[in-house]
Amino acid sequence: MTSRTPPAETPSSGGISIRSVCHEYRPARGRPVLALDNIDLEINDREFVAILGPSGCGKSTLLYLLGGFMPLQQGGISVGGRDITGPGPDRGIVFQNFALFPWKTVRQNILYGLEKQRLPKDERERTTRHFIDMVHLTGFEDSYPSQLSGGMKQRVAIARTLAINPDTLLMDEPFGALDAQTRSLMQEELLAIWNRSPTTVVFVTHDVREAVLLADRVVVMTARPGRVKKIIDTRFEGGMNAEIAKSRPFLDRVDEIWDLVREEAIVAGSAGAG
Amino acid sequence: MTNRYFLTRKLIPGLAAAAAAVTVSLSASAEPVKIRIQWSVAPAHITPLITQAPKGIYKNYGKSYVVEPVRMRGSGPALQGIAAGEIDLGGMSIQALVRGVKRAKLDLKVIAQVMSGGVDGYGSSEFYARDGEITKLEDLKGKIIAVNALGSSIDAAVQAQFGRLGWKVGRDYQVVEVRFSAMLPALQSKRVDLAPLLTPFNLIAKKKGGVKYMFNMRDALGATETLQWIGRADWIQKNRAALVDFMADHIRFRTWLYDPKSREEVLATLSKVTKRPAKNYASWVFTKTDNYREPNALVNVARMQKNVDDLVRLGVLKESIAVKNYIDLSIAQEAAARVNK
């Protein structure tokens, strides 16, 4: 394991390689549903990749497979050159619905992952304090999740994941539940964190602007069964900043991707209606 | 962390200690023979009074034997207790003896009388109907009769009495189980039409009115050996000496129960055991109004054989036995000889 003292540079972990992955849901009764169909995707080390697609296209499924939560049915996934066998602290995940432990306070939630890393006590405390400060939750250390607003919970969830300093960060629509203002602040915050210590990030979202803003590349997926429709480079000269986000090329890129997503959303909508 | 703290530091050790307490088994037997005697209703069973007797009556208590009264309802569990070696003597009816021998295939011996019903000059369980509606036995056709337990002596008496009219249970009348204390209210609230009222309920009923006396156990079955102490033959043989000591003391106890000089003390003891005021018992218990208790606890073999034959004839019992093979009077006799010499 690498040093956990933030904000340390993470050594290279190697990228993620997804090869011919298919996934089928088999309900107890009823027909099986193909969620992912032959996904091939290479993600470079310390690359920020966003996955876009209509709801139900299997984005989350792909993320769960990357997390190792569900058994791989077909194909292969390797992270840093090694095939994944299950969940592990090398891949931190932020869930859409926060997934905080409701019986633990903010501090205890963040501490939990550090305890699992068997870190010395004072280091755990220090790291926790650092991350609470970083997500601006000082003063709420001893609050339970039920006492926090949605944005605060989300920040706890992100802090909790970042605290264990994973090589790879998997994020499942992490800002989906936030108001526009908090959302924009969190996006900035995430970019800042990432710039300070870049890790490989797989970021699932349905917000095109967010994807273009944050990611190096955007993967657009088709409606169910999910396939890779197109991969678009969204790196801009000089990195991302508020200026570029208002520039013509940025907005054009957003529009371009919007059209792709819209096509699929219509397919998904008509399939749903039929 | 309050919840975690509570769980790990307080709750779990507490529960573990409690769990450990269960596993601690009862300590092994001491020197004297422990005689565990089953009983169900006091003062019909005098067993629970034994441990409350004044000093000096049970002279050998704690030396050669100790007594542990065990309350078990019904002869079924009592026989199981005897079979499993969990109790040593059961205070049981003749029906239980016959079924224990024939059905449970236990080698049983009767060693002492506890109570006899319908004996000349003594009380007997009485059956009452509601006054006004039922005047003679024939009026009970198609009615509901309450008994304390199916297959009991009371049940047998009902079958005997109606058998004389050629009636059969189920066809001409129905029998239901009602506990003794609920008999009178069940009768008053018209839930049953005929019910046995043991003392003191018959006395209460007479005072309040509204019920009519129909017949008693003596009319139905004659004199009966109602309850006796029954145990396993091998156990009795093995602990014979201790049992003789116990019986000798017990004969002294019976004298004390019936002695007018100790009346107050007896009533107080009974009141303590049953948690009922002594005045409830003063007028009848351990007198001629009460059932008969043989002073030397001797069983009347002929009477018992007649009971068995009657019950077989009535169909209450399916099998018969020669009771003399299942009675061991020698213990009570030896004890009586020692006390009365």
């Binding site: 997390g67 939560f69 969940p87 592990g88 602290p89 891949r91 931190g92 995940i93 619905n97 997934a99 432990f101 409701p102 019986w103 306070t105 939990y112 992952g113 699992k116 890393q117 339970y144 999740p145 039920s146 994941t161 264990i164 | 309050t2 919840n3 975690r4 779990i12 507490g14 529960l15 409690a18 769990a19 307490a21 269960v22 088994s25 009862l26 209703v41 542990e68 009264p69 065990v70 309350r71 309802r73 569990p77 199981q80 207790g81 499993a84 969990e86 109790i87 506990r179 003794f180 204390s181 609920a182 009178l184 209210p185 008053q188 609230s189 209460i204 049953t274 948690k275 009922r276 409830n280």
Partner: protein, 248 residues
Amino acid sequence: MRLVHTLWRFTPLLLLAVVWEAVSRLGLVSEFALPPFSDVVTAFSRLADEGLWEHTAQSLYRGATGFACAVIVGVLAGVLMAWYRPVHILVNPLLRCLYPMPKSALIPLTIMWIGLGDNSKITLIFIGCLLPVVLSAFNAARGVDQVLIWSARSMGAREREVLWEVVVPAAMPEILSGIRISLALAFILLVSGELIIANNGIGYLIDILGEGGDYAGMFAGVVTISTIGFFADQGYVALTRRILAWRE
């Protein structure tokens, strides 16, 4: 103010007592079956001097022991059944057969193996209280949000750690409500267990009083144990609220 509040809370019980007294005094039901409440109070004060508390203590010891074992074993069994399928497959049929069995029907078996002492009654209470705990622990553990488990695992928690640090706490609210049912059952079972075979205990007392026709005394026993059960339940609810402070 607090006192007034408490009194107001318990007013329905007072109303119940008044209705009880009236029903009995007006002869709507035989006083043998339901003696007036005032007689029950009198009988209670009499019994309090005659060993009511010793009998109650004896019963509570049995009840507490059986209940405590049921909680420990029940939570363990329920969670393990939800977690390890083989445990579920092997244990479940047994529970299904045992659950709807009147525990008193098992007396022939307990006489044989456990005898007649305290342990037989404790065992019956244990079995009776066990099943609601198992059921609630199983259902609760099964219903734990998968995402919580995943997030613990992604932070490096091992399987056993996930079980005790995530599944059990997450299932705690439902487990605690299952335990509440068992707590109430324990009071019922400690009485009914003693009705058939016992030398002491509140159930024994209730039974011999009833057998002797002292219905007022019998009801005094029933009311005593119900009242203790009431306070145990209230205490338990307060305790639950503390344990689950994180919910609100």
